[in-house]
Every structure is written in C-alpha cells, then in structure tokens.
Amino acid sequence: MTPTLLRSTLILGTAGLLAACGPQPAETPAGTTPAPTAGIDVTGAGASFVFPLISQWSSEYAQATGNRVNYQSIGSGGGIAQAKAGTIHFGSTDAPLTPDVLAEARLGQFPSVIGGVVPVVNIEGIAPNQLRLTGPLLAEIYLGRVTTWNDPAIVAINPGLTLPETAIKVVYRSDGSGTTFNFVHYLGQISPAWAETVGPAATSVRWPTGIGGRGNEGVAAYTQQLTGSIGYVELSYALLNNLTTVSLQNATGYWVEPSIASFQAAAASADWANAEDFHLLITNAPGAEAWPIAATNFILVSKVPNDPVRARAALDFFRWAYENGDARAKELGYVPLPEDVVALIKTYWEANFTF
C-alpha cells in the first residue's frame, strides 16, 4: 500500500475502534426497576392540547429532581402512533384508546389533566365570550350551511350585538388531533346532520368546508390572521394568544363561558371508577354550569417498555405533577384531576406497570 493509503486506513480504523468501545447502555437488574436517579432524560410526544402545561411542568420538574422531560407537540394521532411503535417513553392523546386496542398494543392509559375545547372567533367589535352559539348552530357553521356572520340564526340568539356581513371562514386541524376528536364527537352528539355527513368521531375527518391549520398553534395563527374566521383550540391557547372565545349553550340549556369552573363542572359528572382503562369522554356533560366540550388528556405508557428505567421515570414525572402541578395547571386554564381519580390512577399503575 502507498504510505498515504496506509496512514488513512490506520486513522479510520482507530476511530472506528474507539467509537465501538464507547459507553455501553446500563444493564437493568431483573425484577423491579429501582427509583430513578437524577439526570434521566425522558421523551414524550403527542397532543398539542397539553403542550403548554407539560412544558411548564417539565421545567419545574427538572429544577426539583434533575430529570429532564422532553415533550414534542405532534398531535394526538402522532402520540398514539409513536407510543404503539415504542419510539417514545410516553405518548399523550386526547382521543382515548379503547381497551381492546390498548391490549393489542400492550399499552396502559391514564388521564393527566382535564381541559376544554373552545371555539374562537375573529370578528370586529366582538369581545371575548360576548358571542353566543348553540351546539347545532356550531355544527351548521362547520358544515358550511351558515356562511355569513349576520345569518338570521346567529342574529336571533345574539340580539344585542351588531354582526357584520363578513363571510365565515372555518378553520380546523389539518393534522390528526385529539382536540378534533373531542370537538367532532360533541358535534356528532348534538347534530344528527353532522353525524350523517361527516361520520363517526376520529382524529382526522373529511371537513365539508374551511382551511386546515397544523396543531393548536396553527389554528390559533389562522384565526388571528383572518377576519371573520372561527376555529377551535384548547383554552390555554385562547388565553395565551388573546383570542376571542365564544359562549356555548350546554346540555341543560344554560349559556356557559369557557373557564376552569365550567370545565370542572363538566368533569364532576365523570364516572372514572367504572371506566375500563379510563376510557371516558366527557363532552356534552350534564350540569347547569358544565362546559359542553370538556376533554381529558390521556397518557399512554407501554406495559412492556424497551427502557424500563425511563418508563418508570415517566410515571414518576406524572406522580410529581399530580402532587405539585395543580397550581400551574389552573394558571394555564386546565383542571387538575381530583384526589380520588389520582388514587384510582395509582392503583392502576400498580396493577399494570409491573416493570
């Protein structure tokens, strides 16, 4: 071999050997995994619904324990897919999986926090919660049958407001979304026309009209940009971006504004004890003060994880959040789970997560 070729082979070979002899992954002992030590990195992904909250929680958790939780907001559909594929340590979805799907994918599911899907509008001269819409009217707007803001149906229930002749620009989620799932589930419950035209609730549906934004962030951006638009986002996005929220008429017939109190009223009627794998939807809840489109966010963790240490660390993050994260949740517009539900969750962990 020529001298230069020999030299380059030696250099490459040594580099390769050094890379191969790098640090090996720690071997976990058989049996129960020990409590996580400081400095563990946990990766989660899924619903943009809870992204503002989880990112706050994770920075406080890192300060408290030194473990870092990295959460990617890719939509509930993405969270479900990645949790099934085992590429993340926990997934997050607002569209709960049914017990048979969970059994097949060997995932455990438990709720993290409750929030609400809130319609937001961009109409000149309308302040937050001033505009009132009924569920069926919302469905008609999203079906494309009510096309201007001064339509008689809208004017009839808003006698005190001057509504412009602007065309209604419908905004929906273009990616697979649990926010969409809960919104569409609610529309299907209160509008037979919607159920027939669009079909059953899913994270991605065939919207009759409108434009699609990517993530809660995308819908918020479009609603801010286009005058006369209506979209649906989680309450914290409406608060953080100063969007104009809408009052809805709930199942009992009262007009309610979106707030932690109305979400809590909706969650009060939820029967978690009898929901297998916590599979429960709380839209169109009964109660005088209940918000009609309340939604729960669920966390998916594998029952047979590739990395038990990090999976255990993910559960530890949520235990910390249940104990210390309530104030931050309320600040951002979410409803923390009541104590009895947290107790049910911890029993579920002991029964299902035996790694």
Partner: protein, 319 residues
C-alpha cells in the same frame, strides 16, 4: 544519479492503481445516484401497492380523502400540486428571464454584482420563512387589496371566470403559486444568467453590428445558443416548486378538496407532511406513499417532455 528501471516500474504501477481507484470511487458515486433514485421510486411504489390495489385507478381520479373512514382519493392534492407549480412557473420564468437579461445585457457593470448577490441571497432563505412571510404579510395584503377586485371582476370573464369565483380569504392556490414563484426565481435566474454569460461575444457583437436591437440579439442569438441549459434551469425550478412543503402548507390551507384559484386546497407534499406522523392505519400510510410515487412520476413525465422537446429542437437544427 540514474533512477533504476524497477523504481520507475513501481511508480508506474502505483500510479495505475491510484488512477483505477479514483475511477472506481467516481463511478461508485455515479451509481449511488442511480441506486438512490431507483430505490426511492421502488420503495414508494412498493409501499403504495396496497392503495393502488384497493382503489385502482380511482385513486387518481377521486377527490374523496377521508382518513377516518379509510377512503382515499388523491385527485385534490395532485391537482393542487400541478396548479400551484404551474402558476409559479408562469410568473417565475418571464421574471427570471428579465433578471438574467438585465444582469447580462442591460445593467451597468457596477450594478451587476450587488443585484446578482441579492438574487443568490433569496435562494438561501429557508422555505419556512417564505411560508411565514406569506401568511403574515402577503395573505392579508392580497385578501384586502387584490382578491376582492379579482373575485368581482375576473369571475365574470367567459372561460377563466370560474377559476376566480371564490371568497377572498387570501389563502389559496393563487397565493401559494405566488409564494412558490418567488422561491424559484433565484434558481432559474442564476442558471439563466450563468448560461447567458457563456454566449461568445463575437456572435452578439456581429448581431449588434448588423443593426439588431437588444431584444433581437437576446431572442435570436442568446436564447437559441443556450436553449438546453435554460430549459434545464426551468425544470430545476419546477422540481423545487413541485416538492415544496412548508411554505405551501402555510398559505395553501390544507383543505383536501378540489377548488378554484382563490379557495384553499392541498398539495401532495403538504398532505404527506400533515398526515404521515399519525398514519398508523396501513391503508392510510400506503395511500400517502402512493401519493409520493405519483409526485415522482409527475416529475419524471415533466422531465421527459422537456428532453423530448429539446431533442426535437436539436433535430430541426440538424444536429
């Protein structure tokens, strides 16, 4: 000191070996391109076989895209891709041509470098910046000042009227085409400019000496001389326009329906980017891969048309 014959022999053999290795590594790079191309096409065709088997030709002709009920018809993204790329080319080619001619024939020499550098900087801007600019600046401007007039006046015209008959939202295929055209102008303009500079000065000066105007020189001397490279540059821009994802997703509206120019629609790249992350149903994933294969075929067909066009022009010239 005399050099021995064996020493010279050894040097010659070493040279031959080095030459052979150089040729092999360069050939390997070339084959790598071919393998990559064929591999990409075969992977997408293989991944999309389930969608083609289930929906058959209807996959290309139906615009019913329903991920919830697992019914996929890709007509809307395909048409959206073709129309936005077509609009982009329609705007970009004359403008790039003008820029290239300006930089090579018309501009004073002190202006050529700054403008040339500015064009190249445009090429370096990330596409998501174009998308944000489009959404926050261009869309409100068009929605307020341009589209209302367009949708009122042009929609009354006989043949192209229905294409402009939509609500002036600002988000739609025309806006996406405009943003795309701005993105591909730098590519086409720099290729054209490089190539126009290679035209021998003798040819141009002879034409000027015979009394031709600048336009006649450009149209009859410069363009025919650089024809294949200009078409190559145009198709480089077209390739970028067909595949552009982020900028289009911002301003096209992600509405998976057939629409006219002022209404939101969808493109293949935007659909794949939006839905691939959560397409865990086999048929859904297969349909997205099938859409990718269709895009691949569209690019292939367009390039073949360009090559055939060039071949026929060469034949007419007697080459």
């Amino acid at each position: 000191m005399a050099v021995s014959a064996e020493h010279l022999d050894r040097l010659a053999r070493g040279d031959a070996r080095a030459d052979r290795m150089f040729r092999w590594s360069v050939a390997a790079a070339g084959f790598f391109v071919l393998i990559g191309l064929v591999g990409a096409a075969v992977t997408m065709a293989w991944g999309g076989r389930e969608a083609f088997a289930t929906f058959g030709f209807g996959f290309l002709t139906s615009d019913h895209w329903d991920p919830g009920n697992l019914v996929f018809g890709g007509l809307a993204p395909i048409v959206g891709t073709l129309i936005t790329a077509g609009i982009a080319l329609l705007i970009a080619v004359p403008v790039s041509f003008g820029i290239a001619i300006f930089l090579t024939e018309v501009a004073p020499s002190w202006l050529r470098n700054p403008v040339g550098t500015a064009i190249e900087l445009l090429a370096g801007i990330p596409s998501i910046i174009y998308g944000m600019w489009g959404l926050f600046i261009l869309v409100p401007f068009l929605a307020e000042h341009v589209y209302p007039t367009l949708s009122q006046t042009v929609s009354q015209w006989p043949i192209i009227g229905p294409w402009f008959d939509g609500p002036p939202i600002g988000i739609g295929m025309l806006t996406a085409g405009i943003v795309l055209s701005i993105m591909i102008i730098p590519f086409i303009a720099s290729v054209m400019r490089e190539v126009f500079l290679t035209v021998p000065n003798r040819l141009k000066e002879s034409a000027y000496a015979l009394g031709s105007t600048t336009f006649e020189v450009v149209w009859n001397i410069v363009l025919p001389y650089t024809r294949s490279a200009v078409i190559g540059g145009i198709f480089l821009g077209l390739g970028r326009a067909l595949g552009e994802t982020m900028a289009v997703t911002f301003v096209l509206g992600n509405a998976n329906r057939l629409a006219n120019l002022l209404e939101p629609s969808s493109s293949i790249a935007a659909t794949i980017a939006n839905e691939f992350g959560e397409a865990f149903a086999d048929l859904h994933r297969s349909s997205l891969l099938a859409l990718g294969f269709v895009l691949f075929m569209v690019t292939f067909v367009v390039l073949s048309i360009a090559k055939l066009m060039l071949m026929s022009l060469h034949r007419r010239e007697g080459n």
